[in-house]
Amino acid sequence: MAISNKKTDKDLNVIRALIKKHKKNDQIFAGIGFFIIISLAITLLVLFLDLVIDGYPKMNLDFFSNFPSRKPEGAGILSAWVGSALVLVVTFFVAVPMGVAAGIYLEEYAKKGWFADLIEINVANLAGVPSIIYGLLALGLFVYEFGLGTSVLTAGLTLSLLMLPIVIVSTREAIRAIPVHIREAAFAVGATKWQVTLHHVLQYAMGGVLTGIIIGMARAIGETAPVITIGALTFIAFLPPSPVNDVAPFINFSWLEAGFTVLPIQMFNWISRPEHAFHINAAATGAVIIVLTLFMNGLAIKLRYNIRKKIKW
């Protein structure tokens, strides 16, 4: 009896030691995981602060109202931010209607079958195609086959190709979350399919669609490779013609055909210079880009969070 008790005690001690060890492993792993995540957050912060600190000397209004120049001190990003803005206008007006329409079609109209599958597989694959491939497509198709040249229009179309899958996917997800009874109620009072879609489904999906649009636009702002590939210039000291003027009909579209540069290309150009003074300009441009994209992404995340909290079917 005594011997067996001793043995159990020993066994128990072994088991306790084992449990202790395993619990310790748990804590060690949780510590490592937490540490990695904190490091990632700190990395993001350091990157951001590095840009702001490096670019601080250039952070003034002149930087936004000056053209790029051979002299780094006087150089600014006027042509770049105007170019980015104009390109994004084109991207928005092409990608949003098409993406939302495609999303609606896939969720509300398409019947299950090979045709819907074909579109679905293509959308999934397009999201994984490297952005530079879209640049090559645009170079071959828009620039040369369609003869659009290296213009604001070409760049806008190119970026809209990149944004399209993002808008389609977010539209679909937003629509899918809407319960059937919303549609049934509308059908019951005699609405047609399109009326149901436009007046009910799309209204409820609007938040999710908007999230996708913002994320897509944020991506389009920072996208560099495809715009370089279509042959965008890296040094532009003029502005495209203004879209609004004082002669009737007050708006013109000649800016669509103008040469341009965009913010990330301007940044890339300044990084590639050997002189340190240009790197300061690059950092300042980077800070502008990152503030824009972080702000837009943050807005999208907040929006999504609000929707998830607010809507309870």
Partner: protein
């Protein structure tokens, strides 16, 4: 026509008009959906048609086996291998960083983190995804490489190590989010069974959840490789644009994407062999990423029905 119209009631006429409009709208929507298919066809068509003249001048054998890529030299050589080597080396470095960090992050978020930690961390990861790659390129060239040079003074300004590490940091959120989705999809009952046997969280995560989520985790790695291969700005800025047949990460080398950028920055002569060569490089890149994406999707879908 007029006679026919008088025969139907106004309500019915309205109905006919409405149904006709509905039909048109459906067609318009369908056409928008078709755009996705058209873009894919467009990519394949442009890449193939623009690189056909290239492959008339350069044999497939030379393209795939020659180890010299000098399209801008007097003696022109068109072997894609140096570009592929650069691409794979940088992607390899990136994976060495991203796979452990991404996997641990995913396990931590899915099995360990409290609800509050999760709600805070996920937006941060999403923000990291949103950082434009040209900004990452800036850090690779002007922050990470100088830091590495302090440890290893012989490192040249352009190298594959710095951009590889930065690319790895960029890829972490991708791996973390896909792998975490896979782990969260593992049914709670399996974890409960494991806990009931006396296993700890870590044991459950490693021996029960991760094996059950293998397909999703592997898919995350494959999609990460695909992203690394297609990444352009980080490498174009920080790895140099000189093709170099080497797998040594401290050397400088061009990737497929960096080559396309370097040609596009110069004066493109439409129809010249330089112009055609970027489409040949592009088709190589497209085939590589497409097969990886398909493999990744397939791996992810294949095992999801098991539970």
């Amino acid at each position: 026509m007029v006679k026919k119209k008088s025969n139907i009631s106004p309500a019915l006429a309205k109905n006919i008009r409405r149904n006709f409009l509905e039909r048109i709208i459906e067609l318009v929507l369908m056409f928008s959906g078709l755009i996705a298919v058209l873009i894919t066809f467009g990519i394949v068509y442009i890449l193939v048609s623009e690189s056909i003249p290239f492959f008339e001048a350069v044999t497939f054998k030379e393209f795939l086996t020659s180890t010299v890529w000098t399209p801008n030299f007097e003696i022109k050589n068109y072997g894609i291998l140096p570009l592929v080597a650069g691409t794979l080396t940088i992607t390899g470095v990136a994976l060495l960083v991203a796979v452990p960090l991404g996997t641990i992050t995913a396990v931590y978020l899915s099995e360990f983190a409290s609800h509050r930690v999760k709600e805070t961390v996920k937006p941060i990861l999403e923000l990291l995804v949103g950082v434009p790659t040209v900004v990452f390129g800036y850090f690779a060239l002007l922050l990470v490489t100088p830091l590495l040079q302090k440890i290893y003074p012989d490192l040249s300004t352009f190298n594959m190590l710095g951009p590889g590490i930065v690319m790895g940091i960029m890829i972490v959120p991708y791996i973390a989010s896909v792998a975490e989705d896979a782990m969260r999809a593992v049914p709670m009952a399996m974890r409960e069974g494991s806990y009931a046997m006396g296993a700890t969280r870590f044991q459950t995560a490693v021996s029960v959840v991760m094996p059950a989520a293998t397909s999703g985790i592997v898919a995350a790695y494959i999609l990460a490789i695909s992203r690394g291969i297609g990444e352009t700005m980080i490498v174009a800025i920080a790895a140099g644009q000189q093709p170099n047949f080497t797998f040594n990460p401290v050397d400088s080398a061009a990737t497929i994407t960096a080559y396309i950028v370097s040609v596009a920055l110069g004066d493109l002569e439409h129809g010249g062999i330089g112009y055609q060569s970027i489409f040949a490089a592009g088709i190589t890149l497209f085939v590589m990423t497409l097969s990886l994406n398909i493999l990744g999707q397939w791996t992810r879908n294949k095992f999801t029905e098991r539970y």
